[in-house]
Symmetry: C2
Subunit: 206 residues, 2 copies
């Protein structure tokens, strides 16, 4: 029996993806579930589905005010540092492409966590190669080779395909979780439930 | 020391207010917290804050599809029956006014739960006095007197004041919870946390 898998769909500009990314591997490991990291971009979905050119948290002030306070509570509970980014949302295109390179080379999880820390704990600009280089090195990648690969056509095409796949499978926000039997869970609050679902449905298949 | 209180802000047309309304008293009682039921209307907030003339779950199809599936999972976990209403959202003006009458007469909680059951377990039209009369009677009210009071100017004005109060205090959705120290929690998923916050802040005050 192969290990059950859970697709973890995340966007580097998404606030609630931060606490989810920091613990998804731990929660999944406890239940024997393998995590497939799926970076994507929310911008095209927000535009197509909601006609939005900005984060809903900027468009609706009340939602944004609440989200920052709630995120603070969530991070405190999880023991995560949080510094509200001086720019929100950050441009997440380059780190998303880099993560796809990391998916092939085995450092996607470590790199993704490092990007979230840089963004939400240290208020760094995650679209800046100078910020990303040390994060790549720390994750075990060759920074220059990874940056070059991230600019290649196959990687660009793969990210576009991820976005199309997200749309086709009903995603509208991040983080989201998809099980192998097609169950969708949205939000950091659903992480545990999604992992349990993945573990349980694998037992039923066996 | 008086019991700590938690304001429970709910909208009868709101789907996630249903599982929240059905258990808020039980969760609060376990921690010695008193619940103040605050019916309000989301329509004016959606219009003013988001420019929406309909539920966001109808405006954004992907969100709506997900919500109905997620609500089903939530209700299953809580052991609550769910039948997707044939009309969504229902007009909630009359039950909201009736609930305010019930707040004065001590039957608001029982009546509110009965309305949610009628709407989400039995697909009944909660704007219809013929549907509401037996619910009122079951909650211990005099149905005709309550319906007459619900149409009075003071009750209408009180509901408007609730909506204004909700706006002024940063609400943008339902269910929402407000503690006496001004902490806002949004969503059925935050019910337990809100009750814990209310219980804890009362201890700190004491």
């Amino acid at each position: 029996m192969t290990a059950p898998t859970l697709e973890f769909w995340y966007e580097f500009a998404s606030t609630y993806s931060y606490p989810a990314a920091m613990r998804v591997e731990d929660v999944a490991r406890d239940l024997g579930v393998r995590v497939e990291w799926r970076p994507f971009l929310l911008g095209p979905l927000f535009l197509e589905q909601q006609g939005l050119h900005d984060s809903p948290f900027n468009v609706v002030k009340e939602k944004g005010d609440y989200m920052w306070r709630d995120l603070q509570r969530v991070c405190e509970e999880q023991g995560l540092p949080l510094e509200k980014p001086s720019q929100f949302p950050r441009n997440s295109l380059l780190p998303a492409r880099l993560a796809l390179v990391g998916a092939e080379q085995g450092w996607i999880a470590a790199f993704s966590r490092a990007v979230y820390e840089a963004e939400f704990a240290h208020d760094q600009d995650i679209s800046d190669p100078a910020v990303l280089r040390p994060l790549l090195a720390r994750a075990g990648a060759d920074p220059e080779a990874a940056l070059e690969a991230a600019g290649s056509e196959p990687v660009k095409a793969r990210l576009k395909a991820h976005v199309e796949d997200a749309k086709a499978r009903g995603l509208f926000g991040a983080p989201s979780f998809l099980t192998s039997d097609g169950e969708l869970f949205w939000g950091n609050d659903r992480l545990e439930q999604a992992v349990q679902w993945a573990a349980r449905s694998a037992l039923t298949d066996a």
